[in-house]
């Protein structure tokens, strides 16, 4: 019986191919919108987070518990055990120690406040975007060298080869002083960094700020698929005490929140589209029932149970939803696969804005499975409901009147 109903439902669908295709298109459009839209968003956020991590914070940092709230020079950790631990793990791309502090950067009579970061240049040069964004000169190679942001260089009147004096407050209130040679100038499109960041060799920093050989303010890890809880759990068993593990979500809260905010607004729009499409599908089924009033009357008159006719209608709805979801999904996948290669170019005028949000001039979508799950479930349920409402008329159909009705 069910097999016959399925056959009937499928054939009924193609009695009016135009209407079927229009309805399927509406469903496909909604699915396509959500799957494609979310994939583009996921792709752009992945880039944003990766680029953001590469500009300075990395994917994960281990710090003194109090440091992130109150970045004092005194809150250091012993970097050795953490470095050792991360070096032993295969999925870690890079790991290195960092020291950071605030100081006065002077050239001749001019002075500006600056954020001084001591880095292990040999490691950071491989992943840091500061290193790849050096526009004049080169990145750090050894001791006694510094790279600074373009705006700071301009404000200080610094040129590659000049001597830069750094004066700050060392550990336990001493004076931190260092003289370094400028070897490179970077421009990141992020005003804040270009205006205030100076990178020097970590050992120069330790010497000036009177820190020990293994002392650091952060151990910076590049590894996109290691979670905080995992690291926390395994670090707990080492001798490291009172350290905090910060993942990119903590290091770049704004990126995480922007992602959540966008997701909420996309979902809102999707719900409205689902409702709009839902109403359209209801009208489709109203038309179907209306057109077939006569034939439905005949079927009931010769003994067909109204319940079975309802089942047949729901089967039609199922086919519509299946076709719609499949087409929407296939079109979205084809487009995503193609764009994963080529990327979506963004308007050139917007380059600067996107650079500010750590985005590339092209967006590479990355497939978002939850969006497909959510949109197909909603569509299947919605279309079933849409078929149910006009189907109620079948239950109340009087065969004699129905047969008499002009279609």
């Amino acid at each position: 019986m069910l097999v016959r109903l399925i056959g009937l439902a499928w054939r009924n669908l193609w009695r009016n191919p135009q209407r079927t295709w229009l309805t399927v298109s509406a469903i496909a459009f909604a699915v396509f919108f959500l799957v494609f839209g979310r994939s583009v968003q996921t792709g752009s956020f992945d880039t944003m987070i990766d680029n953001g991590a590469r500009i300075l914070p990395g994917h994960l940092q281990v710090q003194h518990v109090k440091y992130s709230d109150d970045p004092r020079v005194d809150y250091t950790i012993n970097a050795a055990p953490a470095l050792e631990y991360f070096a032993s793990r295969d999925e870690i791309e890079y790991v290195s120690a960092r020291t950071q502090g605030f100081a006065l950067a002077s050239m001749g009579a001019r002075s500006f406040g600056a954020q001084i970061i001591g880095v292990e240049a040999d490691t950071e040069r491989h992943w840091s975007r500061i290193a790849s964004m050096v526009s004049l000169g080169r990145y750090l190679q050894g001791r006694g060298e510094a790279v600074v942001g373009a705006r700071l260089a301009r404000n200080l009147g610094l040129q590659v080869g000049d001597e830069l004096i750094i004066l700050g407050t060392a550990k336990e209130g001493g004076i931190a002083a260092s003289s370094v040679t400028l070897v490179g100038i970077f421009s990141t499109a992020q005003t804040q960094l270009d205006r205030s960041l100076v990178q020097i060799h970590i050992d120069d920093f330790r010497e000036a700020w009177m820190l020990g050989n293994n002392e650091a303010h952060a151990v910076v890890v590049m590894a996109s698929n290691v979670t905080r809880s995992e690291v926390e759990a395994s670090l707990a068993s080492t001798q490291l005490e009172s350290v905090a593990v910060l993942a990119w979500q903590d290091l770049m809260p704004q990126a995480q929140q922007m992602r959540d905010m966008k997701a909420v607004s996309t979902q809102l729009i999707f719900y409205v589209i689902v409702i709009v499409v839902g109403f359209s599908v209801v009208t489709t089924f109203m038309m179907i029932v209306f057109e077939r009033t006569q034939e439905l009357g005949v079927l009931i008159a010769i003994g067909m149970k109204p319940g079975l006719l309802q089942v047949q209608l729901q089967l039609e709805a199922l086919f519509l939803a299946m076709l719609g979801v499949a087409i929407g999904f296939i079109v979205a996948v084809l487009l995503i696969v193609w764009l994963e290669e080529t990327g979506i170019p963004l308007p050139v005028e917007a380059d600067e804005i996107f650079a500010r949000y750590n985005m590339d001039p092209r967006i590479y979508p990355s497939f978002d499975w939850p969006a497909l799950q959510m949109s197909s479930v909603l569509m299947f349920v919605g279309v079933q409901l849409a078929a149910l409402i006009p189907g109620l008329r079948i239950q109340r159909l009087q065969p004699v009147e129905a047969i008499r009705q002009q279609a």
């Binding site: 135009q18 209407r19 229009l22 309805t23 298109s25 509406a26 459009f29 909604a30 919108f33 109150d70 970045p71 004092r72 605030f102 100081a103 006065l104 009579a109 001019r110 002075s111 500006f112 406040g113 600056a114 954020q115 301009r154 404000n155 700050g168 407050t169 205030s196 809260p253 704004q254 990126a255 995480q256 929140q257 922007m258 992602r259 959540d260 905010m261 729009i269 409205v272 589209i273 409702i275 709009v276 499409v277 109403f279 359209s280 599908v281 209801v282 009208t283 489709t284 109203m286 038309m287 209306f290 057109e291 005028e349 917007a350 600067e352 804005i353 500010r356 949000y357």
Partner: protein
């Protein structure tokens, strides 16, 4: 052509399928309500972005000495005559403020930070965020006030509080560094935004004394209405012949571009919603034509012209659309009213700051947007009726009678 007859025909056709058309009205209404209420949020976002950009010491227009933007120091400054008043009509000007803004280093007993030291005339600062933020302690009282106002976040980092002293180092007019102690008059709370870490305020006259200068580095002008900035900018260029006069779009190009993007977003949402709707609309219109093949064939046989047939389908579509749009706009307005207290985005505070917004999103209703949505929807209703009308015209009287 008999318009009244056409209208009657269309309305009766719509009433023939009451329930089906109610569904269609509902679909249109939901789409229109969705788009129009989304618009009020986007406009709110824009207004907020503009407001933050303009009140963050930028103003609608700014006057700088040449070269200051590349090299922000007191050496790139200019003098105002005593009792200077900018030559701007009073009905356009909200206020103007002269300032010195120079980079400086600020130190407490424990910590050191880099900041922008801003010398202000407190009475003139009603145009900037300084007038709106809550202050713990006291605000600055006069341009001679020798105390400072610092942001809450900076105060926290420096581990200091109201009444304590901080040392500020900055470069004087002769290029040499000055170092001086300042007492904290008050701590301002700019809702945790980045402003708190950047700006430290003191009296303008006092800062001039410290820097050995009688000049200022900028004038910020706030207007009553944003669109007036073009004409006022021209006035300022004439007054300050050798200076750089810039509007907020030039000063904050990123905000200006985001602002334009938001304009575009309004059209994108409209196209998305309406595309979803069009399938159902065309579907129903084609059905109403096809259900009436016999009747239309009869009318054609009796001499009804193509033009009449087309007009009738178009009119039907337009009426359906109009009803849906009216209900939808009403719905959009109700949603707007329900959001009139604003939406709290504080759980996304860092994210919204990144895009230049505050944590409180206040929707803004522009009548123009409602008119735009309505007219675009009606245009779409017209377009959607083209294919069904064409189908209706294609009906041959003979075939139809045989149907």
């Amino acid at each position: 052509m008999n318009i009244k007859l056409l209208y009657q025909l269309s309305v009766r056709n719509i009433f023939r399928h009451k329930r089906r058309n109610i569904m269609l009205f509902a679909a249109i209404a939901v789409a229109v309500a969705g788009v129009s209420s989304m618009n009020t949020l986007i406009r709110g976002f824009q207004a907020d972005m503009l407001d933050s950009a303009v009140s963050n010491l930028t103003g609608h227009l700014k006057v700088y000495a040449p070269g200051y933007r590349d090299d922000p120091s007191i050496e790139r400054s200019f003098r105002l005559e005593d009792g200077f008043q900018p030559d701007i009509p009073a009905d356009k000007l909200l206020g103007w403020a002269p300032r010195i803004r120079v980079p400086a280093v600020i130190m407490s007993e424990r910590e050191t930070r880099g900041v922008q030291l801003v010398g202000v005339n407190p009475e003139a600062e009603s145009i900037s965020f300084l007038a709106d933020v809550p202050i713990d302690g006291e605000g600055l009282s006069a341009t001679q006030d020798d105390r400072i106002l610092v942001g809450a976040e900076l105060a926290r980092q420096l581990e200091t509080k109201v009444g304590r002293r901080l040392v500020i180092i900055t470069q004087g007019a002769d290029g040499l560094n000055r170092e001086r102690g300042f007492r904290i008059a008050g701590i301002y709370d700019a809702q945790g935004t980045g402003l708190e870490k950047i700006y430290v305020f003191t009296g303008l006259a006092r800062l001039q004394q410290m820097l050995d200068s009688d000049a200022i580095t900028e004038i910020s002008v706030r207007l009553k209405e944003e669109p007036q900035k073009a004409s006022v900018k021209q006035l300022l260029i004439e007054t300050f012949a050798n200076m750089e006069v810039m509007d907020w779009q030039e000063l904050e190009p990123q905000v200006a571009a985001m602002y334009l993007f938001a304009d575009g977003a309004i059209y994108i949402w409209f196209i998305l919603m309406m595309s979803a709707l069009t399938f159902g609309l065309v579907n129903t219109l084609v059905a109403t034509v096809m259900e009436r093949v016999k009747e239309l064939g009869m009318l054609r046989a009796l001499g009804m012209r193509n033009r009449m047939v087309i007009s009738q389908v178009v009119l039907e579509s337009t009426i359906i659309m109009s009803v849906g749009v009216v209900v939808g706009l009403l719905g959009g307005y109700l949603i707007y009213l329900s959001m009139s207290d604003g939406i709290d985005l504080s759980s996304f505070s860092a994210g919204v700051e990144m895009v230049g917004m505050s944590t409180h999103l206040q929707p803004v209703l522009l009548v123009d947007d409602f008119v735009l949505v309505a007219s675009m929807s009606l245009g779409l209703g017209f377009l959607a009726s083209v294919y069904p009308a064409w189908r209706a015209v294609k009906i041959k009287p003979l075939d139809a009678m045989r149907h």
